[in-house]
């Protein structure tokens, strides 16, 4: 139809190849995908905290957090939990199989709030998947940030995502990593307990010069935010990322509305100050 000939269809997903996958933990799989169109692969830029819409033809489409960092272009990484029909179909895919993606969507983390400041990253469970993007972004651009603290809590050592990677990062002396599990086993050498227990390891901070980021299950936010507030970090310097049902990713389908905001366009990253205004947020 000539009338719309000039508009690029924003719903048309592009073909991408699974270049590598492996299991992270039970029912959680890591995928590296790459646009088949090489130019698209190299020009695809995004911010940490953004997401893509991934399609499997005939099964459907859903939003997935990007777990890779834009500082390492070409390949997109995702951590996926097998939990519904689309992810079950995705788990059937093998390396070199094709999936379809479009994006990136959402605002991403507010990097301008982090530059030249101390940064506290707190992850709970699956929340570490989008936070891994900002973590690597910070490490790849280490000079842009002051001290960096990475706190991650999982339910058990068996459910600790990216275990090898994160214990390697822990060895670095330009980042302070603290890990905990709710239920330990005999080999676990780190902290035991909920993620808020890790706050005792933090040195004194200047709250005005600190930005905090938290992503985790809905129940976790309140407790972690309470810890940030105890440190006197300003409410608009606490960033969190929210999950919602989405069918379009571009502010049309309505599903992710929170009062007058669309999580897909105005989020998924909001500050705690935003959440105080919009009471339905968490």
């Amino acid at each position: 139809m000539t009338l719309i000939g000039t508009i690029e269809n924003p719903f048309k997903p592009k073909a991408a190849r699974i270049v590598r996958h492996y299991d992270l933990i039970k029912d959680h799989r890591f995928f590296q995908v790459r646009h088949i169109d090489m130019k698209k692969a190299m020009s695809f830029t995004y911010n940490p905290g953004q997401f893509i819409m991934l399609s499997i033809p005939g099964v459907g489409e859903a939003p997935f957090s990007i777990s890779s960092t834009p500082s390492r272009p070409g390949i997109l990484e995702m951590g996926v939990r097998k939990t519904g029909t689309l992810t079950e179909a995705l788990f059937q895919k093998k390396d070199n199989d094709v999936v379809y993606i479009r994006g990136p969507y959402g605002n991403g983390f507010k990097l301008d709030q982090m530059i030249n400041k101390d940064l506290i990253i707190v992850a709970g469970g699956l929340g570490v998947i989008p936070l891994r993007s900002i973590l690597y972004y910070v490490l790849d651009n280490r000079d842009m940030f002051n001290r960096v603290f990475f706190l991650y809590g999982a339910r058990s050592p068996d459910e600790f995502l990216f275990r090898t990677e994160f214990f390697q990062i822990k060895e670095r002396d330009d980042i302070n990593c603290f890990y905990t599990v709710d239920n330990s086993d005999s080999e676990w050498t780190e902290d035991v307990g909920v993620v808020t227990k890790l706050f005792k390891h933090l040195p004194e901070i200047d709250p005005r010069e600190t930005t905090a980021v938290v992503v985790g299950p809905p129940v976790m936010y309140k407790y972690v935010i309470d810890e940030f507030l105890k440190l006197k970090i300003p409410k608009n310097q606490i960033q969190l990322s929210l999950e919602r049902r989405m069918k379009c990713g571009i502010g049309k389908c309505g599903h992710c509305a929170i009062e007058h905001l669309y999580t897909c366009m105005d989020g998924p990253v909001f500050t705690y100050w935003d959440t105080l205004h919009f009471r339905e947020l968490i």
């Binding site: 508009i7 997903p13 005939g58 939990r81 049902r245 049309k252 309505g254 009062e259």
Partner: protein, 337 residues
């Protein structure tokens, strides 16, 4: 224009596109394509399903897919002229424009919008019309031609260059000179019409009242009554939510289509995410979202609430949850008896 020319003129508009308008279909007034101009029903009543269905179809195929990828299908888009469109409907399209025409533009809605002419008609309020309360009883934009019926003639407003062309085609029907008498008739008509609204509600202060009533037990009261049937969303001209589903072709497991279909935030699974967490499991929460959209805020950049005062929720809700009962309960802080 003299009233006697109306039918001939409207019929002549078919050179600008397929004619659409309200017509009787299975006993229901409904926007549909017109086989002949005699099917058109110009009336103060409004079609049960609003005009959004011509721009945001109830169900249509967005794309086809096969082994090689996805291919957009724009076959829903055709040149059309929609006749008999009331002011509230024109306002509703302007609201939908804010969602679908915002970047990134929805190519289906934009295509349908750009290929469709709107021929508006004035109306006299019927039982549940509320457009005087919502300030949507008059249109200044959003139409190509707009006809105001005054005694034995129509005052015709030209709203676009296309509208001008339409008139130019049959200029023998139109009289350029607007007399003082004509203006007086129009003023009288407006005053008379303004006095005929049977119902009204407090619209201007609703954003503040909604904000202050976030935790009101009124939402629980209405939540208990609500059937989650979603009728309000189907008949509301500014409900635009949709779902997307993939459908395989019967004969080939690699081929199929991706369809868009109307959805409603009243449905229990509207906000459910993978893993089963439901961000709005209670009907009260879902009602608050729906009425927040209509009476408080509609998009961070859009300014006005969504309600255009068509009164369809008053006509349709089987348990009397509508902008009148909700705004009254929130204003008086009393639940209906």
């Amino acid at each position: 224009m003299q009233s006697k020319f109306l039918e001939v003129f409207l019929e002549s508009l078919d050179k600008f596109g397929e004619l659409y308008g309200p017509k009787q279909k299975n006993g229901v007034l409904s926007y549909d394509s017109l086989n002949s101009i005699s099917e058109l029903v110009i009336t103060d009543e409004q079609p049960m399903i609003p005009i959004k269905k011509l721009f945001h179809p109830m169900q249509f195929t967005m794309m086809h897919f096969n082994e090689k990828g996805f291919y957009p299908d724009y076959s829903v888009i055709e040149k059309r002229v929609v006749l008999g469109v009331h002011p509230c409907e024109i306002h509703s399209l302007l609201r939908l424009d804010e969602v679908f025409m915002r970047e990134p533009v929805d190519p289906y809605y934009a295509g349908l919008r750009k290929s469709t002419a709107i021929i508006g008609f004035s109306c006299i309020p019927t039982e549940n019309h509320l457009c005087y309360s919502t300030d949507t009883d008059i249109v200044n934009e959003g139409f190509d031609l707009f006809f105001v019926g005054l005694d034995d003639f129509y005052l015709v407003w030209v709203g676009s260059s296309l509208g001008y062309d339409m008139i130019h085609e049959r200029e023998e029907f139109f009289d350029d000179d607007v007399t003082h008498d004509d203006i007086q008739k129009y003023v009288d008509w407006r005053q008379k019409r303004n006095s005929m609204f049977k119902k009204s509600f407090e619209f201007d202060s609703m954003p503040d009242i909604m904000e202050l009533s976030h935790d009101s037990e009124i939402w629980d009261y209405f939540g208990d009554k609500c059937l989650s049937c979603g009728q309000c969303s189907m008949v509301c001209p500014t409900c635009n939510c949709y779902n997307v589903t993939d459908v395989f072709a019967v004969t080939n497991e690699n081929v199929g289509r991706r369809d868009r279909v109307w959805d409603s935030c009243m449905f229990v699974d509207y906000s459910i995410v993978a893993g089963g967490h439901n961000f709005r499991a209670s009907r009260a929460d879902r009602l608050r979202l729906w009425y927040g959209h209509k009476l408080k805020t509609f998009g961070v950049d859009y300014g006005r609430p969504g309600c255009v005062g068509c009164g369809r929720c008053v006509d349709s809700c089987p348990v009397d949850i509508n902008v009148l009962t909700i705004s009254e309960a929130l204003t008086t802080k009393e639940v209906p008896k």
